[in-house]
């Protein structure tokens, strides 16, 4: 019998007394241990790895395999809320209103297409929309008070005075959208060993159709593509100590790679905690991440972020005054629905690896380590024993990220700091599931702004701490590069 038998989850329904209805509660107990024999990460999510098909567009939409029927109920309702279209207030369906007034999308799913990766618009508005990416905005500190607030972590950024921290490119009827995303590209050539020429495109981002007057002259803009939704609950369950153990902020081991944790203020407790989610690790956990997305992306309030007008600023008075969808004392997204969405996000499963045993993939895995990719794309962690999701506990997982910030050089810099992350730093993104990007999303656009059109381009954009690894990659023979890519695509 394989070791997966030990990954069995005791069906909650057998043991728990009463039926659990959409409560986020469950009677599950766990009989699962980190599988230390899976030395190649064939089941990257441990026992929670998806058991669904990996050869079609739903490959990222399956639930953790360790869920009971009872928790599947919550997952399914969470999925339905995730794709639910919110409407503006007032509406006949009181539980579904509260959208906007400013928003980027009407539903979670409209950005997180097929629970996968977003993409840059194929052409500037109106030929295409920019729905699966957004622009973050801020300005440098303008006063000592602002400098202090940033330094002590009370705030993560100084909002652009009129538009806030995010450009919402849509608005409900009767309100103006903030503007449109306009991206064009310049290209340059890079020559690899053996003569292959790769063209790298760099985005030039501007905002057109500004709805509320000019931007602050020193506005910093950062383009953010919606990241894939898989494995988030497992990443959340990695103990802080395991992440911090890999940090080397002053590069004391002299390998050229620092690795710094972001530190952010927890909204509820006010404590400074480890940042973990988002392109710059700005959010500490999935509750905070979900609340931020509801607020910033859809203009919906929740218990954690109760402002009903979402991203409206004091300078957008009509926006603040618009009808909202919160019943008295509540939020536009009631706690019961909010919890179900978080549960859904926690339990979108990581797919099993494909073709892991071909000679090229095995060779590529060795090269991945030799070139130095694994210095930041940390192959494996073991999730904690004590987590809010016991069915995700104590699993050996293979995300290929250290969840730390790294200086990625000028080429990738957005020059827009967030909390402790500088304008050159990005959090190492996980690589699990990356080989299914085309299957799920129909494209292979990578990096925070989707500039890379394939994995080779993405690697070649690596600079800063990753420059040496990038250079080693560029010097590999064509066959070796193909092997390395085969390995990455098997993840």
């Amino acid at each position: 019998m394989g070791s997966y038998a030990q990954a069995a989850l005791i069906a909650g329904g057998l043991l728990a007394g009463a039926a659990v209805v959409a409560s986020g509660l469950g009677g599950n107990r766990i009989d699962a241990r980190a599988d230390q024999t899976d030395a190649r990460g064939l089941a990257p999510g441990g026992a929670a790895t998806s058991k669904g098909s990996v050869d079609n567009r739903n490959a990222f939409s399956h639930a953790s395999a360790t869920l009971s029927f009872a928790r599947e109920f919550d997952f399914k309702i969470g999925n339905a809320i995730f794709r639910k279209l919110w409407v503006s207030s007032p509406a006949s369906t009181r539980s579904s209103d509260g959208l906007g007034p400013l928003f980027n999308a009407r539903s979670c799913q409209r950005c997180h297409l097929k629970d996968g990766r977003g993409h840059p618009p194929a052409a500037p508005w109106p030929k295409d929309n920019a729905v699966s990416l957004l622009l973050r905005l801020s300005i440098p500190p303008q006063s000592d008070a602002q400098r202090r607030a940033l330094a002590n972590g009370r705030i993560a950024v100084i909002p652009e005075p009129t538009y806030g921290t995010q450009l919402q490119d849509l608005a409900i009827q009767g309100h103006r959208a903030e503007g449109r995303v306009h991206i064009t590209y310049t290209e340059r050539e890079v020559r690899l060993a053996g003569g292959e020429i790769v063209r790298l495109r760099k985005p030039i981002v501007r905002i057109t159709d500004l709805g509320y007057g000019p931007l602050h002259p020193r506005t910093m803009i950062s383009v953010r593509v919606a990241p894939p939704m898989i494995g988030l609950g497992l990443l959340e369950a990695v103990p802080d100590a395991a992440i911090l153990a890999r940090a080397d902020p002053d590069d004391s081991d002299g390998d050229g790679i620092s690795g710094r944790p972001n530190r952010v203020r927890a909204r509820r407790s006010g404590a400074m905690v480890l940042g973990r989610f988002g392109w710059k690790a700005l959010e500490p956990d999935l509750v905070a991440q979900t609340a931020a997305a509801f607020s910033g992306d859809m203009g919906l309030s929740s218990a954690l972020l109760p402002a009903t007008a979402g991203g409206c600023t004091a300078a957008q008075k009509a926006c603040l005054a618009a009808p909202h969808g919160a019943s008295k004392g509540g939020a536009e997204v009631p706690e019961s629905l909010f919890r179900l969405v978080v549960f859904y996000a926690r339990n979108l499963a990581v797919p099993a690896r494909r073709n892991a045993n071909t000679p090229a993939v095995k060779r590529g895995r060795t090269l991945f380590h030799q070139v130095g990719c694994a210095a930041c794309h940390t192959p494996s962690f073991t999730t904690g024993k004590d987590t809010p999701s016991p069915h995700l506990a104590d699993q050996k997982i293979w995300p290929y990220t250290d969840l730390l910030l790294h200086d990625m050089g000028d080429g990738l810099a957005d020059h827009r700091p967030e909390a402790r992350a500088s304008g050159r730093e990005w959090r190492t993104p996980p690589l699990w599931g990356i080989g299914l990007t085309r299957t799920v999303s129909g494209h292979t656009f990578f990096l925070h702004d989707g500039r890379a059109r394939n994995i080779t381009e993405a690697i070649l954009w690596h600079g800063g701490e990753a420059q040496a690894s990038r250079d080693r990659f560029a010097k590999l023979s064509a066959k070796e590069r193909a092997a390395l890519l085969a390995f990455v695509n098997s993840l």
Binding site: L14, A43, T66, I77, A122
Partner: protein
């Protein structure tokens, strides 16, 4: 440590695969137990018959659609709607096959995807909103527009073809609500938008929307073409699936040729996942939480009560090993119920009782709907009696799922590993 069955709920599909039986062959110890392969054969026979019925009723729908197109009158439109409703009866009884069988789950979105942004297909009114949305195709109206622009491309939609609907538009831009094919696309064409909220009434499209000579709603020739193509696609898809359950079909062979317990797990997975997560959760509880008339599965036709009811009948069918065909014939054979009964009579009795109880609760919903209060009205805010009757049905599904879990435990079935990769079943071997 005591071990219990695990249910990899998560998923759909495929989920559980290889299973191991503890102890001796049941056939030796339980004289009355049927052979597990015979039980699986019954399951496959029911699938073949039910998908076959779904196909023939869809063909009847196709003839009714042609009659509507030939002579668009209120009578022919009504006949087409009745044919659509009749076609849903066998199809919904097949939904229980979706969650235990990867081949069905991978295919299902082509025929039964929901909910849909109907503005992709045809004209819409009311609060729908014609302005550009973050879904470029939200109000694209293929019937009115021969060129569509999305994803930075112009799409030639001058000819409405199977390829256009199933390959180009279905889930276009990665948006799941871009549903261009299947029962619900056809339903929208036959009924039109339901603009009544949680008030009474279904969609009310006039027959003249299909009258090329005296057209209402514009673009009648293209609407006719869309309806013809979508119906033909449905038939293609159902024919294909019925064949997968034939004697040499891939779906049947996948079950019959694998370990018997894998097949039994597939049957239980379908029952449990449809009961709990899909029907009780996604399709019913959410709508009740939100009191949202959009959360109605067959919303244009106000047929949700039947849609849910026949799902529940389908669950009962596969447990009892019987299916009443559209022509009245009874398909019957060795059943899962017999197998559980041989292992534990009380467990079988409980589950049969729970399934029957659920059927009763869904009959109550059907009865209420037929008395004039549609499902979307039942879930409306403030409709205490309606809400209660829906909640009772949900509770019955939750209860029956517990008894399904007890039945799995009684048979000592235990899923142990992934299906399609021996590298996963034996990682150590791979590392050599």
């Amino acid at each position: 440590m005591q071990r219990h069955v695990i249910f990899a709920a998560g998923l759909l599909a495929a989920a559980l695969t290889v299973a191991v039986v503890n102890g001796q062959s049941r056939a030796q110890t339980k004289a009355t137990a049927p052979d597990a392969k015979a039980v699986i054969a019954t399951y496959a026979n029911i699938a073949q018959a039910a998908y076959g019925d779904a196909l023939t009723t869809a063909q009847t729908l196709q003839r009714a659609v042609q009659a509507l197109i030939d002579k668009p009158t209120p009578q022919t439109l009504d006949a087409a709607r009745k044919a659509w409703l009749a076609a849903r009866v066998p199809y919904q009884q097949t939904e229980v096959y979706r969650f235990g069988n990867k081949i069905v789950d991978d295919w299902e979105g082509r025929v039964n995807a929901w909910p849909l942004d109907e503005g992709l297909i045809d004209y819409v009114k009311g609060e729908y909103g014609a302005v550009s949305d973050e879904n470029s195709l939200y109000a694209a109206n293929v019937i009115a527009n021969k060129t569509l622009t999305f994803g930075g491309r112009s799409i030639d939609a001058s000819r409405i073809t199977k390829t256009l609907l199933s390959k180009t538009l279905h889930e276009a831009d990665g948006v799941e609500a871009n549903v261009a094919t299947g029962y619900h696309a056809i339903e929208f064409l036959l009924w039109g938008q339901d603009l009544n909220g949680t008030g009474p009434g279904a969609g009310n499209r006039p027959a003249t929307d299909f009258n090329v000579a005296a057209c209402t709603g514009g673009n009648c020739a293209r609407r006719v073409q869309y309806l013809k193509v979508a119906t033909a696609l449905l038939i293609d898809d159902l024919r294909w699936m019925a064949a997968q359950w034939g004697q040499q079909g891939a779906a049947r062979k996948a079950l019959m040729e694998g370990p018997a317990d894998k097949g039994l797990i597939a049957i239980f997975t379908g029952m449990g996942s449809l009961s709990y997560g899909e029907l009780a959760g996604e399709r019913m509880k959410l709508g009740l939480l939100l009191h949202d008339p959009e959360e109605e599965h067959d919303c244009f036709a106000d047929n949700t009560h039947n849609s849910h009811y026949y799902d529940v009948i389908g669950i009962q069918n596969v447990y009892l090993g019987r299916y009443r065909r559209v022509d009245g014939t009874l398909i019957k054979g060795a059943s899962l119920s017999d197998l559980v009964k041989a292992a534990s009579g009380p467990t079988d009795a409980r589950l049969r009782k729970a399934l029957a109880h659920a059927v009763t609760q869904f009959q109550a919903i059907v009865k209420r709907a037929e008395s004039g209060e549609a499902y979307d009205q039942m879930i409306a805010e403030g409709n205490t009696a309606g809400n209660k009757i829906v909640q009772n049905a949900i509770d019955a599904l939750l209860m029956q799922t517990k008894d399904i879990e007890r039945a799995i435990a009684a048979l000592k079935l235990r899923p142990v590993q992934f299906e399609d990769s021996d590298s996963l079943s034996d990682p150590a071997k791979v590392l050599q």
